[in-house]
Amino acid sequence: MEKTFRIIDEDGIHARPATALVNTANKFKSAESFAEAKGKKVTLKSILGVLSLGLEKGDSITLSATGEGEADVIKALTDVMVNEGLGEVQ
C-alpha cells in the first residue's frame, strides 16, 4: 500500500515532523514502511534516512507499507503528514 504527498511546509521535512514520522513507523513492529522520493527509497524507521531525502517545499514523497496492518500504518502516517502541516495528499 502506498500514498503520495506533496510537501507544503516552508522548511521541507525538518527535524520535528521527521521525528514524528519515524516514531509513528516504529510503533508498528510487524510492518515495514518506506519513504520514496527523487528516485531514492529509505526505511521510515530511520530519521537519518528520512532527512537524507533532502525534501523541500513542493517535492513529492511516496509513503509505502508492507506487512501486518499496512492500511493502519498508512493511515497513521497520513495523519502525521497532515496534522504536522507537512504535506497534502496528491
Binding site: 521541507g12 527535524a15 521525528t19 529509505v42 530511520s46 530519521i47 532527512l51 537524507s52 533532502g54
Partner: protein, 570 residues
C-alpha cells in the same frame, strides 16, 4: 589558596565550586581489534549511556523550558536508535576489525558531509545535530570527562578560556552563580551577557583555567576584578560580608527607582538601558530605566537556522514597545557581520571583519533582509514610542539610502491600509570617526545621534578591542575621544537634536561626570548600571562638570583625565 587579578566585568560576588568548561579533544585514532564482539559491546554500552543522558536532558528541558525546546533531544534520541547509523558502524567493526570510535566517526562523517552538501540551509544545519550526537557517544567511547554547560544542575562558578555566545546562552542562571575567563575585556560578548544576566564575572585573568581544578571553591569578585581559588575560611567570611554589603547597596539604589535622573543643580538627563531581547525589558523597568536607548535586534537573527520572519520580528518589537508603556525605545537595525556571524547567510570570511561588510553596509545590499525588518518595525510603531537607528553609518549617502528604503516600506504599508506612526524619530549610531567629524552635516538630517563608544574608540585609536596586546589603546578617557564626543554633541545641539550614548562608556562612573559636563542628553547602559549612575549624577553639579570637561579636553593623556575626575570625587 591562589589569588588572580582580572577585569571586573559584572558586579557582585559569587562563592561556589568551580566548573571547568573545556571543550575536550575528540581526536579519534584507528586501531585494529581482535575481539570484535567486545568492541560491539563497547559501542552498545556507550549508546545506552548516551540514551540515558538524553532521556534525562529531554525530561528536564520538557519541565523547565517546555515541549518545543525538548523536541530537538527527541530527534537526537532517534539518531541514537537509527538503524542506518548503527548497522554500518557494527558492520565496519566486524568486517574491518577496527575500534568502535573509529567506525562511529567514519560513519557519522558520511552523514555530516551529506547534510553539509544539501541544498536547503535548514538541512545543512542538521550537520550540527549529527556532530552533537556523535560527540555525545564519543565522550563515552573515549572515556572523556565532559559536561555540557546546559546540563549543569548544581551551584557553580564557571571557569573557561572564553565563553562563546552559544555557551552563554546555555548557562542556567539558577545554578551558574558567576564566571571567570582567561581572555576578554569589559566589552567582550561574555562580559556584556554577564551584566545583562546579572551574574558576577571577572574576565581577562589570563591563567584562571590552568590554576583551578573542577570542584575547587572559588570566589569571583566582580566588583574589584579578583578571583580567589580555595580561599581560607576567614576570606570566605570576609567575602560573604562583602556580598551582603553589595546586596544592601543595591537595596539603597532601588530607592531611586522611581525618581528622575537630576543633577545636584537640577538638570535632567535621561538614563536608558541597552537590551537584546524582549525578556530584558523587565530588568529595565526594575532598575528604573527611563527608556531603551539601544535594542540590539541581532539576537533575533542569531541562534536560529534561517532569517526571522516579519511576523516573528513584529511580535518582538511590539512586545518591547508595549511593555515600555510609551517610554522611548531606540531600536537599532540589524548589526550583523564583523564578529557577529550568521551561519545561514553564508558570508565569506574577511581579513578585517570589523572594517568589512557588516551592519548597514550589508542591509543596503541585502535589501530583502532590511525591508523585512523595516516593515516589522513600522507595523510595531503604533504600539509605543519607537525610534529607529541605523548602525555603522559612514556617509550621508548611506543614511539617505536607508531612510529612502524606510519611507518606501512605510508608503507600501499605508497603501495596504496598515496603520503606521508618524512620530517615529530617525537617528544614527555615531561610531565611525568620519561621521563624528561631519556631525554638523548629519545633524541637519537626523532626529538624533547615539554615540557607540565601543566601536568609535577602536576605530579612532585603530586598535582591536579584543586583542590583548593592543587593548591598552582602548582609552575612553583619551582627550581625542572626548573631543570627538564634544564635536558630536555641540553639532547636534546647534540643530536642536538630542544626543545619546549607548556604549559601555555611558555607564562608567569615571566617564559620567565628563559626559554630563559635555552636555550628553541620554545615557544608555546595562540596566544594572542605571541606579548607581542616577545616584552618582544626583551628587554632581552640571555647571561644575562643564568646567571639569573643559579642563579635560585640554589635557594630554587619558591618565591625566582620570586623575582630574578622581580629584573631584574625593
Amino acid at each position: 589558596m591562589i589569588k588572580i587579578e582580572g577585569i571586573a566585568a559584572s558586579a557582585g560576588v559569587a562563592i561556589a565550586p568551580a566548573f571547568k568548561l573545556e571543550h575536550p579533544d575528540f581526536t579519534v585514532q584507528q586501531r585494529s581489534v581482535s575481539d570484535v564482539a567486545a568492541e560491539v559491546a563497547k559501542l552498545n554500552a556507550a549508546l545506552d549511556q548516551s540514551k540515558a543522558e538524553l532521556e534525562a536532558i529531554k525530561e528536564r528541558t520538557l519541565q523547565e523550558l517546555g515541549a518545543k525546546k525538548a523536541e530537538i533531544f527527541e530527534a537526537h534520541l532517534l539518531i541514537l536508535n537509527d538503524p542506518e547509523l548503527i548497522s554500518p558502524v557494527e558492520d565496519m567493526i566486524r568486517n574491518d576489525m577496527v575500534n568502535a570510535e573509529y567506525a562511529l566517526n567514519e560513519t557519522a562523517n558520511q552523514f555530516i558531509s551529506m547534510f553539509e552538501n544539501m541544498k536547503s540551509a535548514y538541512l545543512q544545519e542538521r550537520a550540527a545535530d549529527m556532530k552533537d550526537v556523535t560527540k555525545r557517544i564519543l565522550i563515552h567511547l573515549l572515556g572523556l570527562n565532559y559536561v555540557n554547560p546546559a546540563e549543569i544542575s548544581e551551584e557553580v562558578v564557571v571557569i573557561a578560556e572564553d565563553l562563546t555566545p552559544s555557551d552563554t546562552a546555555q548557562l542556567n542562571r539558577k545554578y551558574v552563580k558567576g564566571f571567570t575567563t582567561n581572555i576578554g575585556g569589559r566589552t567582550s560578548h561574555s562580559a556584556i551577557m554577564a551584566r545583562s544576566l546579572e551574574i558576577p564575572a571577572v574576565v581577562g585573568t589570563k591563567e584562571v583555567l590552568a590554576k583551578v581544578n573542577s570542584g575547587d571553591l572559588v570566589i569571583v569578585d566582580g566588583l574589584d576584578g579578583k578571583v580567589i581559588i580555595n580561599p581560607t575560611d576567614e576570606l570566605v567570611a570576609e567575602y560573604r560580608s562583602k556580598q551582603e554589603k553589595y546586596q544592601l547597596q543595591i537595596e539603597e539604589w532601588k530607592k531611586l527607582r522611581d525618581k528622575a535622573s537630576v543633577s545636584a543643580d537640577g538638570v535632567h538627563v535621561e538614563l536608558a538601558a541597552n537590551i537584546g531581547t524582549p525578556n530584558d525589558v523587565a530588568g529595565v523597568l526594575d532598575n528604573g530605566g527611563e527608556g531603551v536607548g539601544l535594542y540590539r535586534t541581532e539576537f533575533l537573527y542569531m541562534g536560529r537556522d534561517k532569517l526571522p520572519t516579519e511576523e516573528i520580528q513584529f511580535n518582538a518589537y511590539k512586545t518591547v514597545l508595549e511593555k515600555m508603556e510609551g517610554k522611548p525605545v531606540v531600536v537599532r537595525t540589524l548589526d550583523i557581520g564583523g564578529d557577529k556571524e550568521l551561519p545561514y547567510l553564508d558570508l565569506p570570511k574577511e581579513m578585517n571583519p570589523f572594517l568589512g561588510f557588516r551592519a548597514v553596509r550589508l542591509c543596503l545590499e541585502r535589501t530583502d533582509i532590511f525591508r523585512t525588518q523595516l516593515r516589522a518595525l513600522l507595523r510595531a510603531s503604533v504600539y509605543g514610542n519607537l525610534r529607529i537607528m541605523f548602525p555603522m553609518i559612514a556617509t550621508l549617502d548611506e543614511f539617505r539610502q536607508a531612510k529612502a528604503l524606510l519611507f518606501e516600506e512605510k508608503e507600501k504599508l499605508v497603501a495596504e491600509g496598515i496603520e503606521v506612526s508618524n512620530e517615529i524619530q530617525l537617528g544614527i549610531m555615531v561610531e565611525i570617526p568620519s561621521t563624528a567629524i561631519i556631525a554638523d552635516q548629519f545633524a541637519k538630517e537626523v532626529d538624533f545621534f547615539s554615540i557607540g563608544t565601543n566601536d568609535l574608540i577602536q576605530y579612532t585609536m585603530a586598535a582591536d578591542r579584543m586583542n590583548e596586546r593592543v587593548s591598552y589603546l582602548y582609552q575612553p578617557y583619551n582627550p581625542a575621544i572626548l573631543r570627538l564626543v564634544k564635536m558630536v554633541i555641540d553639532a547636534a545641539h546647534k540643530e536642536g537634536r538630542w544626543v545619546g550614548m549607548c556604549g559601555e562608556m555611558a555607564g562608567d562612573s569615571t566617564a559620567i561626570p565628563l559626559l554630563l559636563g559635555l552636555g550628553l542628553d541620554e545615557f544608555s547602559m546595562s540596566a544594572t548600571s542605571i541606579l548607581p549612575a542616577r545616584s552618582q549624577i544626583s551628587k554632581l553639579s552640571k555647571a561644575a562638570m562643564t568646567e571639569l570637561a573643559a579642563k579635560a579636553l585640554a589635557m594630554q593623556t587619558a591618565a591625566e583625565v582620570v586623575e582630574l575626575v578622581n580629584s573631584i570625587e574625593a
